[in-house]
Symmetry: C2
Subunit: 509 residues, 2 copies
């Protein structure tokens, strides 16, 4: 039982909050483990009971976070002058969680949960049949609730509705800043893409890699590379799920992949991507386990850690040269298709397409910018759901010169909006830009980093990331963290330079 | 939020209780899944965070069960004349859980938890070094608290202290009844064991089965037999853990085993044993999922379901004749060691030994009776911990004619007392007796059952168990359930007859 506040000694409100959040986050970790099990181990007949377990945990966590005395505890702790930097940051993150949780009424939370369940189910069949009209009313219902909740959160936070949604994924990041980053990036890519396509047209074609590639061999290779990158199997696992992810907890990180026996390349790169996420989780500050300030700092920074490993490191010629012999030997491959040049062409192939998740790193931002612009317009009430397919197709034509032949390859392709995740899309490209900026700062700070990568020693890179990013937890906001780590706020120029080096050979990559 | 009672319509207190228990049991199920993961999947570095998760769940469940308004809700629901049989039984089980949970103070629960943690850790090294003195003070501390808690529960329940502990595992079962069952059983076994040993001395020796037995082949065979017995892999899994168990939930039953490549026989029988537990869980009443009345009816009945499958069915000559060719083919075995006669001798070998978990079904009850008598004396204050080794060894000499050469093979062998599980041991032998009584009732009721087993069709047996045991949940107490299923309360004569048939050939088994 909490000590009544009127009897509390100085600092006891803060310590009571730490006690509560430790429990709350332990329950959240339990949920994460049950999600992992659901995706990897659970027999299909377990669905219903698992839903009950997850709903019970979610409801208990919500009740704890919104307990009637929480506001008083936060106020009492705010008045405590004795908190150190980390404690003060921890208190700020507690308040952030509480503010977001209490900004909506229980009725709003329940209505949203119901609307999302119905919409997501309808989306699955609508996408399969490429029938947007079939899910349109349910998406309209979700959007109406999202707008209502965004307005409520905006009132509470003193923010525009879209910014209020964004704040939950990216603390203190605002749409105005995203515009400032995405608009020049879109212009850059408009000119850049044709240059890359011209250049690649003059290169040899990607030679096919003949399979089959047995799952056990793929797995063995993945484990070997994970170990090389610094993944700690005493504190984590690699398993199989339909949709790859990184889950679990910092001390027990569970990453997954999906193997295709006719193509090893995508599972392998997928594992390396998830390993980037895992290294971040594992490196979060040990002293702040189970407290909000010990958690990862937003979705974009998390994505930056996977993209730094995947895009900056593992698709580089230097890394591919390092692993090409190992990969060839593992699968018993022979001939020019197994040489590093072909691997590099395979892993840096650029080709505009309809589907975001299949996109290369050059065209990916266009997919994100499209969705960002459309969702902002929808939240602002400037774009109605029944005009979405037309707006989508027009945007694809403008950004990538393609018009999707159907909505399955257009506005039905992603689960996000149908599942209630609005203001999430920009984090992918914020993550890609952050990855480029961090990697350039790291290699500039320490020449050991590229030299280490070339010989398979990732300790210098990991040490820099641990110190400048991972161990910072949520002490700073994303902008402050990036300035502290790289000397400047997020700037698309680092990402653009990376693309110019890799795809136009402006310098070695 | 619960409806305030003063505004409640008739029946709303009961429905509020159902709502709360559904959530409470969903959290308990979440805990069960996390325990399974801990034993099967978790990397060793996950121990600390998993402990936090489990402690948080346990504490939340305790708080829900002992919420200040729970007593009023139970009283209001008790006054509800409109409950049907199942609802009334459900309410009775809710009250039972609440009574046990509120009988102890928070201070007692916490002191017990700390004492058990310390004692269990000390026991692990004490057992390894066969050094009882090293754990004795910690066991004394545990016993003192167990006695205090037993007295507190006894006061609350109007029971003797030992009966109060027993009531949590075996609702409404009392030590006086156990004495009535165990004393004649001990006498029976005293005369029976020499007869069996004489008879087996005249039989051919058990021929060794030459390995190795690859794990994948053992697993394939286990899965095949599980399917044959009716285990539903859409609602369950088979995995590996150090200590085999049946966990999970009725719709997602997780059983485990441990393979030894030099001996397939014990893992195989272990899987069949756990399958018996799993079939019970899976057969619990579908309409009462997530409610106390829908749960298994006590530990002894659960053990009866595993022992019915393992001891009554799978060690029978009829079952062994059925599977012998399959087993032989799976491992490519040849010669007389692979014939059913040798399998039967292997699986029915009787030999007194020091270790309970290695004991055969004839000598197993002696191990249990010893522990039951000793723990009753300790709870009653008639036996002090420092006299335990002597009392143990004297009891072993009396019951099995053996004196353990050291405490590792004596009073240090089992975790139970050191881990706070007092009054648990008798459930093993109550389970064995219940299994014999149920199986004899089942085969008497339906000749299809033995005929089905002989040809590998377990549907008649499963149908009988589903209808008479599994689907009953906790509607009746163990005694009532057994009377309803077999026509009489628990009687050792069924178990004795079973042993006489199997080990002395009094009739076919």
């Amino acid at each position: 039982m909490p000590t009544p506040l009127r009897h509390a000694a100085a600092g006891s409100a803060y310590h009571e909050l730490e006690r509560r959040f430790r429990r709350l986050l332990a329950l959240r970790d339990a949920e994460a483990m049950l999600h992992w099990d659901l995706a990897t181990m659970m027999p299909r007949g377990g669905t219903e009971s698992r839903s009950e377990q997850l709903a019970a945990l979610k409801s208990v966590r919500h009740a704890m976070l919104t307990a009637p005395d929480m506001g008083d505890l936060l106020a009492a702790a705010d008045a405590d002058a004795g908190l150190n930097d980390w404690q003060a940051a921890n208190l700020r993150e507690m308040r952030r969680a509480w503010t977001h949780a209490t900004a909506l009424t229980e009725a709003q939370v329940e209505a949203m949960s119901r609307a999302i369940s119905a919409c997501e189910a309808a989306w699955r069949s609508a996408r399969a049949e490429s029938d947007f009209a079939a899910v349109r009313p349910k998406l309209q219902a979700v959007l109406a609730l999202v707008r209502e909740c965004a307005a409520a959160k905006g009132d509470r936070l003193g923010l525009d509705p879209y910014d209020a949604l964004l704040d939950e994924y990216e603390p203190d990041v605002r749409a105005a800043e995203i515009d400032r980053l995405f608009d020049p990036l879109a212009s850059f890519l408009e000119g850049f893409l044709p240059l890359v396509q011209d250049r690649q047209a003059g290169e040899p074609p990607v030679l096919p890699l003949p399979g089959p590639f047995p799952v056990e061999v793929q797995r063995g290779l993945a484990v070997r590379l994970m170990n090389m990158l610094g993944f700690d199997f005493d504190h984590g696992r690699l398993d199989v799920s339909l949709h790859p992810f990184c889950g679990g907890t910092p001390d027990d990180v569970r990453i997954t992949t999906r193997y295709d026996e006719s193509d090893f390349a995508s599972a392998l790169m997928g594992v390396l991507h998830e390993t980037g996420h895992a290294l971040y989780e594992r490196g979060l500050p040990r002293d702040w386990r189970g407290q909000p300030v010990g958690e990862a700092r937003g979705i974009a920074l998390h994505e930056s850690q996977s993209l730094l490993i995947e895009m900056q490191v593992c698709r580089s010629r230097s890394f591919l040269a390092l692993i090409a012999p190992t990969v060839r030997d593992a699968f018993g491959g022979e001939g020019p298709a197994w040489e590093v040049g072909n691997f590099h062409r395979l892993y840096t192939r650029v080709e505009p397409g309809y589907i975001r998740v299949d996109a290369d790193e050059v065209t990916y931002p266009a997919h994100v910018i499209l969705r960002y612009r459309l969702e902002r317009a929808m939240i602002a009430g400037e774009l109605e759901v029944h005009h979405l397919p037309d707006a989508w197709n027009a945007g694809m034509q403008e950004l990538l010169g393609l018009t999707p032949p159907d909505d399955r390859r257009g506005c039905l392709q992603d689960i996000h909006w149908y599942d209630g995740a609005w203001a999430y899309f920009p984090t992918y490209t914020l993550g890609a830009m952050t990855a480029a900026q961090l990697f350039q700062a790291a290699t500039k700070a320490s020449p050991d980093i590229p030299a280490g990568i070339a010989r398979g020693d990732f300790r210098p890179l990991l040490a820099w990331l641990r110190s400048h990013v991972h161990s910072q937890g949520s002490r700073l906001n994303p902008r402050e963290l990036l300035i502290a780590a790289t000397g400047s706020p997020l700037d698309p120029v680092y990402f653009e330079r990376h693309l110019q080096r890799r795809y136009l050979g402006v310098a070695a990559s």
